[in-house]
Structure formats: structure tokens, C-alpha cells
């Protein structure tokens, strides 16, 4: 007598929410709040924070993010092929090998670009 796996996952998820939720909601409820501009100040090595906190973005690594989106898709396609590797004739798997090899070129170019900081 086994539950449907997805139903079990839903029950498990609901259980986690109900059992770990109180760990945050109860302290919010019972903790004594004393608003104090100095205590609530963001940490900046003991100094008064200067300027906007959310500005400095590392554009330098943007190509890696683009590579991630592309290779995420590649990874999912390879998984779909990989599970049934034994069921697929080897001659057909050539296409997948070609698929991977074709993506080698942009990977090389992206790594080449990412090496040079002045590009970003």
C-alpha cells in the first residue's frame, strides 16, 4: 500500500511548512521589538553605511550566467537521452554527440571572452 509519489511529496511539503514555519513566526510573535535606528543599521564594519547598498554589480561574470541558461537546456536534453541510452541504437546517439560537439564552439568563445575583463 504505497501512496502516489506526488501525493506523498505534497504531504511532505505541507508537513515541512507546518513544522518549520513556527520557528520563524513564533519568534516574530513573541520577541520584544525595540525599534532603534542604530541597532537596525546594516553592518558596515562599525561605520555608518554610506550610499546605496544594492548598486555594485559584477557585470564581469554576465557571460557565465548566459552560459548557464544555455547549458541548463543542454543538460536537461542530455538527461532525457541518457536514461534510455541502452534502448537507443548507437548510430542514433551520434546525433547527441554532434549536439554536444556543436555547443563546444560557443563554450570556447564564451570562456575566451570571460577571460578578458576589459570586455565587460
Amino acid at each position: 500500500m504505497a501512496l502516489d509519489p506526488w501525493l506523498a511529496i505534497i504531504i511532505w511539503g505541507v508537513l515541512i511548512i507546518f513544522l518549520t514555519g513556527p520557528l520563524l513566526t513564533l519568534p516574530i510573535f513573541w520577541s520584544r521589538r525595540r525599534p532603534d535606528p542604530f541597532r537596525d543599521m546594516p553592518f558596515e564594519s562599525g561605520q555608518v553605511p554610506q550610499g546605496e547598498a544594492r548598486t555594485r554589480l559584477v557585470m564581469q561574470y554576465y557571460p557565465y550566467l548566459l552560459m548557464f541558461v544555455v547549458f541548463d537546456v543542454v543538460g536537461m536534453f542530455l538527461f532525457a537521452w541518457g536514461i534510455s541510452f541502452n534502448a537507443i541504437p548507437l548510430s542514433e546517439s551520434i546525433y547527441v554527440v554532434l549536439f554536444v560537439v556543436l555547443l563546444g564552439a560557443p563554450l570556447g568563445y564564451a570562456l575566451h571572452l570571460a577571460l578578458h575583463r576589459e570586455n565587460w
Binding site: 554576465y62 548566459l66 541558461v69 544555455v70 541548463d72 537546456v73 536534453f77 532525457a80
Partner: protein, 102 residues
């Protein structure tokens, strides 16, 4: 039980929301959101129709596979375009990006 009609209605609602965003919004990133919502509506329809009309085949799922991959690439290129537009014009308001207007 859930019928195919229910999926079509949800998908139509998503399409309507997407079209609304596409026509009304001025922020380029929001327009990208709207496009993604429309793509999702289409994917939902593909998966629903293949499940109800042709349950023994995975053809519809394969189409969704390719569709998701294409949508991911579209988002990557679209966001890069938005980034370039922001760098050149320091705005991503599509009503103000009108340098090509004659």
C-alpha cells in the same frame, strides 16, 4: 475529474494576461514577462492536448521540450538586448526607445 476544457480555460486566461501585458506595459522587462506567460499558455495547451487526445504518444511533450528550450534562448537574447538598450539610452522604457523613428 479534470477535463480538457479546464486546461483550455486556464491557458486562455494566461494568454489574455500575457496579451494585456504586451499591449499596455512600457517597461521592456515586463514585456518579456508577458511573452514568457504567453509561451507558458501555449506549452500548457500542448501538454493538455497530447494527454487527452493522444495519450499513447509523447509527441506533444517533445514539442513542449523544444518550446521551453526556445523560450529560454529568447529570454537570454532578450535580456541581453535590454541590457544594451539600457547602456546606450539609460532607460528601458519602450516608448522612449524610439531612435529608429523616422
Amino acid at each position: 475529474m479534470v477535463a480538457l476544457v479546464n486546461y483550455i480555460i486556464v491557458s486562455a486566461a494566461l494568454l489574455g494576461i500575457g496579451v494585456y501585458g504586451l499591449t499596455v506595459k512600457r517597461n521592456a522587462i515586463r514585456i518579456l514577462f508577458a511573452i514568457e506567460i504567453i509561451v507558458n499558455a501555449a506549452n500548457l495547451n500542448f501538454a493538455a492536448f497530447t494527454r487527452y487526445m493522444n495519450p499513447a504518444q509523447v509527441t506533444g511533450q517533445v514539442i513542449v521540450f523544444y518550446s521551453i528550450a526556445a523560450a529560454a534562448m529568447e529570454a537570454a537574447v532578450g535580456l541581453a538586448l535590454i541590457l544594451v538598450a539600457f547602456r546606450l539610452n539609460s532607460t528601458i522604457d519602450v516608448r522612449k526607445l524610439d531612435k529608429l523613428k523616422g
